[in-house]
């Protein structure tokens, strides 16, 4: 009995040893790991699958949330972290991290109003902030009417829907509201979760989307892809330069193109409320975090190779999933920064 058990244990150990890859100084890494933001997870995993088919390198990305991603990269348990909200340059310097934008998307306010077609209802930024502050409470309020002459608005209560979980989407949305409303900035502020003055919370984009679909007279905010897939009624927003814009890949890209990345220290640039008549005002980028000094240069190079491949070949896949790829101008800037900043232990650049 005991002998058989011992034999089995030995066999299991033997098999385990067989599968453990020898940890030598292989020039080519076969697996890299990352963790973080949930928002870009669909596109990262699609890229990872395609990259694996092409090169044989496995990219293991766990979408545990931006906060988790930051914690994991600081604990050095992963090769790269991912966050929807950029880290402040001071924080980056303190932890020795480099961040760069990888992919973009838009956050879209959506409403449930019978008889109102997608894009038919218009709002300016102050109005949206005041609805979320609980100051505009009904759909036939004079200020909603002023923005939408000719639209039949019901005397219905506005039910505000927000995210219940901490989220990069909320970060981008509250960042926008803080920029356009001094009162929002003073009272509520900008974070992944805030003390919402009114409304109910749905878990995840799907939670918000399902509440908005269900509750008549509700307004919520979701990532662009969810608004499309759930056929929700989006709102046309007035941007900084006075243009009323629809959420679409073109308007997200317009916001990104007008953003000044070159002068953004540590790529700390938030794409909300950007100039340009065609810019969608609630656009956001998702960021990758890596150490500036790579103790395992081969792994670091492997990670950079993957992201370079994604920049060059991933645009179409991203667009299929309703994400917006980074403009070529920004990619050149990012890769120049890789060369300049990321070093091996001897201080030599690992990206050429």
């Amino acid at each position: 009995m005991i002998k058989t058990a011992l034999k089995m244990v030995a066999a299991v150990i033997g098999i385990a040893l067989l599968f453990t890859a020898p940890s030598g100084h292989a020039a080519e890494v076969t697996a890299i790991s990352g963790a973080g933001a949930t928002f870009p997870y669909p596109v990262y995993s699609k890229w990872a699958a395609a990259y694996n088919r092409e090169t044989g390198v496995r990219v293991n990305y766990q979408s545990i949330g931006s906060g988790g991603g930051i914690k994991q990269i600081k604990a050095k348990t992963v090769d790269f972290g991912a966050s929807d909200a950029p880290l402040k340059p001071a924080d980056l310097d303190k932890s020795g991290l480099l961040q760069f934008p990888m992919i973009m998307g838009g956050v879209v306010p959506v409403v449930n109003l019978a008889g109102v077609a997608p894009g038919a209802i218009r709002m300016n930024n102050r109005l949206l902030a005041d609805i979320y502050l609980g100051k505009v409470r009904t759909w036939n309020d004079a200020r909603v009417k002023a923005e939408n002459p000719g639209l039949a608005l019901p005397a219905k209560r506005i039910t505000v829907v927000h995210r219940s979980d901490g989220s990069g989407t909320t970060w981008i949305f509250t960042n926008y509201l803080s920029k356009v409303s001094a009162e929002w900035k003073r009272k509520i502020g900008n974070n992944k979760a805030v003390a919402w003055p009114v409304g109910i919370g749905g878990k995840g984009n799907e939670g918000v989307a399902s509440y908005v679909k269900r509750i008549k007279g509700s307004i919520g905010y979701v990532e662009y892809a969810y608004a499309l897939q759930n056929h929700l009624t989006h709102v046309k927003l007035r941007n900084r330069d006075g243009g009323y814009v629809e959420p679409a890949a073109a308007t997200f890209q317009a916001a990104a193109a007008n953003a000044d990345w070159a002068h953004a220290k540590g790529f700390y640039r938030v794409l909300t409320d950007q100039p340009g008549k065609n810019s969608w005002p609630i656009t956001g980028a998702s960021f990758i975090l890596m150490y500036r000094r790579q103790m395992k240069p081969d792994t670091g190079r492997g990670v950079l190779k993957f992201f370079d491949w994604a920049y060059q070949n991933g645009a179409k896949m991203a667009e299929e999933l309703d994400y917006v790829p980074m403009p070529a101008k920004v990619v050149r800037l990012v890769e120049a920064t890789w060369h300049k900043v990321i070093r091996d232990p001897q201080g030599r650049p690992i990206w050429k």
């Binding site: 988790g68 039910t159 901490g166 919370g201």
Partner: protein, 323 residues
Amino acid sequence: MEEALTSLMKTRMRRGVIIDGLFYHGTRIFAWAVLTVMVAILVSLFMGAAPAIGKFGFGFLVSPAWNPVTKDFGAFVSIYGTLVTSVIAMVIGVPVSFGIALFITELSPRWLKRPIGIAIELLAAIPSIIYGMWGLFVFAPFFGDHMEPWISGFLGPVPLVGVLFSGPPLGIGLLTAGIVLAIMVIPFMSSVMRDMFEAVPPLLKESAYGMGATTWEVVRHAVLPYTRTGVVGSIMLGLGRALGETMAVTFVIGNANRVHASLFMPGNTISSSLANQFTEAVGEMYTSSLIALGLILFLITFVVLAVAKLMLRRLSDTRGSRS
């Protein structure tokens, strides 16, 4: 020949002693492991919650604030939501479970017993996330469109009680969460109660029936006194599950950090706050406050269990003195 036999017996006995010893120590290690894990959880919760406890003190328990921007945290809304939803679940769940168990053991025709029993066990095996999705996509719309307007029309004008059932019928909120919880705990409570009722010796019941007692009198005076401990135990099992249930509640409670008098309004429970916010909580005070919430839930369940044990002891004491 005889010598060989005794030596064989000796080796067998020696082997028996060794194996017995191994078995004894093995089980003892397992038993101690439970205690160690439990203490380790408590210690790590305390350590994790220390910064929040240090900053907010006892005010944490009564403060309704939860503001990640200003880093001002309090547990009151979550505690309130946890207790209110659990109470609703118990108010609905206990009588229903009792009725189910009673029907199966005392009243049901023989051919119906097994199907109902199996159905209850299947319900108990459904993962909570399924209840959550059902609650969000099926129950909440139905409840909001058809039940809540009716309830508020019916009970709304009643003084004192009316305020509990006022407000917009969203279909999402404390009441919905409590009802979904009730549906989730009923299988647990009713299957334990059924097992208890079935364990009552037939002799006891038949004697009571023989004395001319009605079914209800048999249940009240023969079955219940005999199964009291088990019934209280099953209620505590259900309460424990209701207090700690996470996913199903998170789906239907509305996740708003405010206290409303109305049960129709959205709220928050401790476990739903944790499920919602832990992944994205950045900063020491935020994480620590969430862990402090976990510690509070741990203590609440501990108190519930302790009270249950005390109640049981008192029950068995009074029974002992009376007979």
